[in-house]
Structures are given as structure tokens and as C-alpha cells.
């Protein structure tokens, strides 16, 4: 962990929903081009935490985020920061696949279009093709790009959403339980994909599956009741955790 570059670091991050505090003083460093898994029982604040990283909590009126979030040493938490630029750099994939009710092509082309990433139609075609290839979906959909994205299977839809997220070439991809709505085969495909994607992107994944965290991640953080109890190399967390609670959760004694 010593020689790795820190991509995102949070310091004293506190989040409140109205008067209820959801996160307490989170200090966490995410390393570049690594997969970081966040585990913990439901309602412990994992999702709240990753939604802070691309300012998605701004959408919730009563949500207040305090503290420092730095991406490449640059503060992104603050009223004066342009959230759209933050979200352009830090993409997100949600728990339930949420393709737009448009064609497969338009689903991918939407991001590049609004950010003006393509100079012409050929450019756009290339971006769409590359994004779908990176998301391992190209072979399955190349003949039906004009059909609605909502007509794909659940696993394909989720890969479409991943392709959509990488279409604008973000630096970080946040994944909020990306496999919880998928069957084991689709899950295996997404996990393979994550392995492939970490070569180019920093990935943060929230998951309820211990085995998934163990399989795909290099670092793991354990959240409990809004606090980060332990953060370490995945191997260390799963084999020999420092914290008793972590041990209990991983071995299934509570959760």
C-alpha cells in the first residue's frame, strides 16, 4: 500500500439526513487503478459514502455533507464546485440497471453528446463501439444498436449502464451493489469485467456479498453504523482482521 497513488481521499467526512447522522468522521483513501470494496450490514452508510464521492447526495434536499473529499488533491466537496464536472470525472453504476428508455446506441451516445466529446458522427460511432467493447457487450448487441436498451436482459442492461458510465471516459467508477439484481452467471460476467476495467479506472464497489468482495477487490473497507471500522488489504481483512466486529461480520455471525 505504500507505493500506490491515492486517487480519492476523504477526511472527517460527516453526513446528515436532517438531524440523523449517517456517517461519522470517515477518513478513507482510495488507490488509483485498484478495486476497493465496501462491505457492511444494510444501513451502515456504504451507499451514502460512495454517493458523496460524485456528489449524488446533492439531489437529496435534507442531506448535508461536511468534511473534505479530495480527488487528485483537489477538493470536490463544496457549494462552489461544479457538480457536473465532478460527475463527468467520477461515473456511477446503480444497484438496479437503469438504462434510458432509448435505443442502445443513444444510451451510450447520450453522455458524449452532452459533453461534446465527439466532433462528428464517426467519432460518436467509435466511442459507442469502444464503450460497448470495454463493457463486454459489443458482440451481443452490435446487430441491434437501434433497439431499446430496456429490452435487454438484466445482466446486459447492467453492462449497458457500465458502458454508458465509461462512455465519457471517467477516472473513477462507483458501483453501488451492481450485481444485487442479477443471477450468478450475469454476476460472474460483471466481476470479470470489473477485473478488466481496473486496468484503466479506479473502481469502488459496494457489495453485500463477501465472496464478491474477496474475488474482485484489492482493498476492503468495513462499515458499521456509519463508521469505518476497518480498512485494509482485502487479503488481510478476510484472513486476519484487526477488528472483532469485522471478523464476526465476515464469518456471518451478524449482519
Amino acid at each position: 500500500m505504500v507505493n500506490e497513488k491515492i486517487k480519492i481521499s476523504t477526511r472527517n467526512l460527516n453526513v446528515y439526513y436532517g438531524v440523523k447522522q449517517a456517517l461519522f468522521d470517515i477518513n478513507l483513501d482510495l488507490f488509483e487503478k485498484k478495486v476497493t470494496a465496501l462491505i457492511g450490514p444494510s444501513g451502515c452508510g456504504k451507499s451514502t459514502f460512495i454517493r458523496c464521492l460524485n456528489r449524488m447526495n446533492d439531489v437529496i434536499d435534507i442531506c448535508k455533507v461536511e468534511g473534505s473529499i479530495k480527488v487528485d488533491g483537489e477538493e470536490i466537496n463544496g457549494k462552489e464546485i461544479d457538480v457536473n464536472v465532478v460527475r463527468e470525472r467520477i461515473g456511477m453504476v446503480f444497484q438496479k440497471p437503469n438504462p434510458f428508455p432509448k435505443s442502445i446506441y443513444d444510451n451510450i451516445a447520450y453522455g458524449p453528446r452532452i459533453h461534446g466529446l465527439a466532433n462528428n458522427q464517426d467519432d460518436l460511432d467509435r466511442i459507442v463501439e469502444n464503450s460497448l467493447k470495454k463493457a463486454a457487450l459489443w458482440e451481443e448487441v452490435k446487430d441491434r444498436l437501434n433497439q431499446p436498451g430496456t429490452g435487454l436482459s438484466g445482466g446486459q442492461q447492467q453492462r449497458l449502464c457500465i458502458a454508458r458510465a465509461i462512455s465519457i471516459n471517467p477516472e473513477v467508477i462507483l458501483m453501488d451493489e451492481p450485481c444485487s439484481a442479477l443471477d450468478p452467471i450475469a454476476t460472474a460476467k460483471i466481476e470479470e469485467l470489473i477485473d478488466e476495467l481496473k486496468k484503466s479506472y479506479t473502481i469502488v464497489i459496494v457489495t453485500h456479498s463477501m465472496s464478491q468482495a474477496a474475488r474482485v477487490s484489492q482493498n476492503t473497507g468495513f462499515f458499521h453504523l456509519g463508521k469505518l471500522l476497518e480498512f485494509n488489504l482485502t487479503e488481510k481483512i478476510f484472513k486476519n482482521p484487526d477488528n472483532k466486529m469485522t471478523q464476526d461480520y465476515i464469518t456471518g455471525r451478524f449482519g
Partner: protein, 296 residues
């Protein structure tokens, strides 16, 4: 000159009714609306097969008249058309923009709350109150031309606005939050998210709400009586600034007339009105089915 040519004339209203068997001919002459002399001529014409019945096309194109045999709905059809156009052009864009603002952008505070309550209340205000407002504001304050589709359309637009805003807001609310999150997470601004992804999904519901609102406006009578659209107008209007009647008001006018012939005209007008309403409502259903897209 000095030429013989054939002309077709309409039967006078009373003889028309005799022809249709609505007036009995065996009561004494002084208690009938037609004389023995008229009857004699009628019988002669019948004997020569000079009296024929045919479809009354002029009814669709003529303006109103005191004589039922030549009165038509042409003027009120044009009047209704202009009124609805004015109403649509005003209420549709205003209604949709208001709904989008209230649902997506308005800060949640006391003022917004008051506006929301008022919009909902406006939908329940009796339509004649809008007529009074039109009379007081558009006619007596702004001096807009009386009895015209322009003023009629303005009044109906006020009435239709809440009926567009409410279904449009409901349609916007029904768009799943996951779609908004998907767009926002791609770095789309709030306006881009709403305009590109939310509004298109809300369109079917909004369009059918608009058409239902417009068909209500088409059948509206009370507010138009107060702004003078009840006047007797015997020319077909050519612009929204000409005095005119509308279909439901025409029904109201004719149903009050003494001549027996207007009974049939009233029924015919009602059939035309109902045909238009049925057509508009089917169109609303068609639009909803056409644009409705399933999403998970």
C-alpha cells in the same frame, strides 16, 4: 333576361314540418301555423314531384339565421376552431412549463406551496367564474373585442391551464427516479436531465391530459355567455378577431328558439359536438398508446 331556368329553394320552416309529418293538417286553419292556401300549393308541388328531401350540406357551412331552413353551424364551427386554437396556443406551452417548473425546479417553500394549492383549487372553480373574470378583465379593462374567439380562447385557456398542469405534474412525478439519477451521474445538468430524459417520458400523460382539457373547453358554454359569444352572428368569422358563436352556445341559442325547425338543428349540432369530442378523446388515447414507452 327573358330566360327560363330552374332554381332549387328551401321549403319554409312550417311547410317543412308538414312535409316531415310533425304538424297535423286536420286541425282548423286558425289554430295552425300555415294557411289552407299554403297547403294547397304544397299538395300541388308534391303531386308534380317538385318537393324532394336531400342531405343538408349547407347546414355545415352556413352561418346562423332567424330562418331555421337556412341556418347552419358553419359560423360556430369556425368559432369553436379559432377559440380552441387560441386556447391551445396559450395553455399548452404555459401549462407544461409551469408544471415542469413546479415539479422539478421550484424550491420547496411557502410560496410554492401556496401556488400549488391555488393551481389545484383553480381546477375546481366553476367555469362561469372564469367568464366573469374575462368580462371584467379582458373586455372591460383591456377593451379586447367583444364576442370574439380571441377573448373566448383567453378565458378557456385560464380554465384549461390547471387541467394541463395537474396531469403533467402527475406524469413527471411518475418518471422513475432511477432515470434522473442515471442522467445526473453522467454529468448532465439539472436542465439537461429534465429536458432530455424526464419530459419525453412524461409526454404521453401530458398530451392526453391536454386533449382532455381541450375537449372540456370545447364543450364549455357558461363562461362564453358572459363574454358575449352568445350574440346573434350571421356571418362566418374569418379570423379570431371577428365576432362569432361556438358550438355549445349555438345549441343553447337554438334550443331557446320558438320555431319547430330549430329542434332538429339543435339535435344535429349536438351530434356534431359529440362527434368532435369523441374524435378528440380517441386521439388522446391514440397519442398515449403511441408514445407510451415501457421502462423498468
Amino acid at each position: 333576361m327573358n330566360k327560363t331556368s330552374e332554381v332549387a329553394l328551401t321549403l319554409s320552416d312550417d311547410i317543412d314540418q308538414v312535409h316531415k309529418g310533425n304538424f297535423p293538417r286536420d286541425i282548423p286553419e286558425d289554430r295552425r301555423r300555415f294557411s289552407d292556401f299554403q297547403l294547397k300549393i304544397y299538395d300541388e308541388q308534391i303531386a308534380q314531384k317538385k318537393i324532394i328531401s336531400e342531405f343538408n350540406w349547407p347546414f355545415l357551412f352556413n352561418a346562423d339565421s332567424r330562418e331555421p331552413e337556412i341556418a347552419g353551424v358553419g359560423a360556430s364551427l369556425m368559432g369553436s376552431f379559432f377559440t380552441l386554437i387560441v386556447c391551445l396556443l396559450l395553455s399548452f406551452p404555459l401549462g407544461i412549463l409551469a408544471a415542469i417548473y413546479l415539479e422539478e425546479f421550484a424550491p420547496k417553500n411557502k410560496i410554492t406551496e401556496i401556488i400549488e394549492v391555488n393551481v389545484n383549487n383553480l381546477a375546481a372553480v366553476p367555469s362561469i367564474v372564469f367568464g366573469l373574470l374575462g368580462l371584467g378583465v379582458f373586455l372591460n379593462y383591456f377593451y379586447l373585442p367583444r364576442s370574439t374567439p380571441l377573448v373566448g380562447g383567453l378565458v378557456l385557456a385560464l380554465m384549461t391551464l390547471p387541467r394541463i398542469i395537474i396531469p403533467c405534474r402527475a406524469a413527471l412525478k411518475a418518471v422513475p427516479p432511477s432515470i434522473r439519477e442515471g442522467a445526473l451521474a453522467l454529468g448532465a445538468s439539472k436542465v439537461q436531465t429534465v429536458m432530455h430524459n424526464v419530459v419525453p417520458l412524461a409526454m404521453p400523460g401530458t398530451l392526453s391530459g391536454t386533449i382532455i382539457g381541450l375537449s372540456q373547453a370545447l364543450g364549455e358554454t357558461a363562461p362564453l355567455l358572459l363574454i358575449g359569444m352568445v350574440a346573434f352572428i350571421n356571418v362566418v368569422p374569418s379570423t379570431p378577431f371577428d365576432p362569432s358563436a361556438v358550438l355549445p352556445v349555438q345549441v343553447y341559442l337554438w334550443s331557446e328558439s320558438a320555431e319547430r325547425g330549430f329542434v332538429e338543428k339543435t339535435s344535429a349540432t349536438i351530434i356534431i359536438l359529440i362527434f368532435f369530442l369523441a374524435f378528440m378523446n380517441s386521439f388522446a388515447i391514440y397519442l398515449r398508446n403511441k408514445f407510451e414507452k415501457r421502462w423498468s
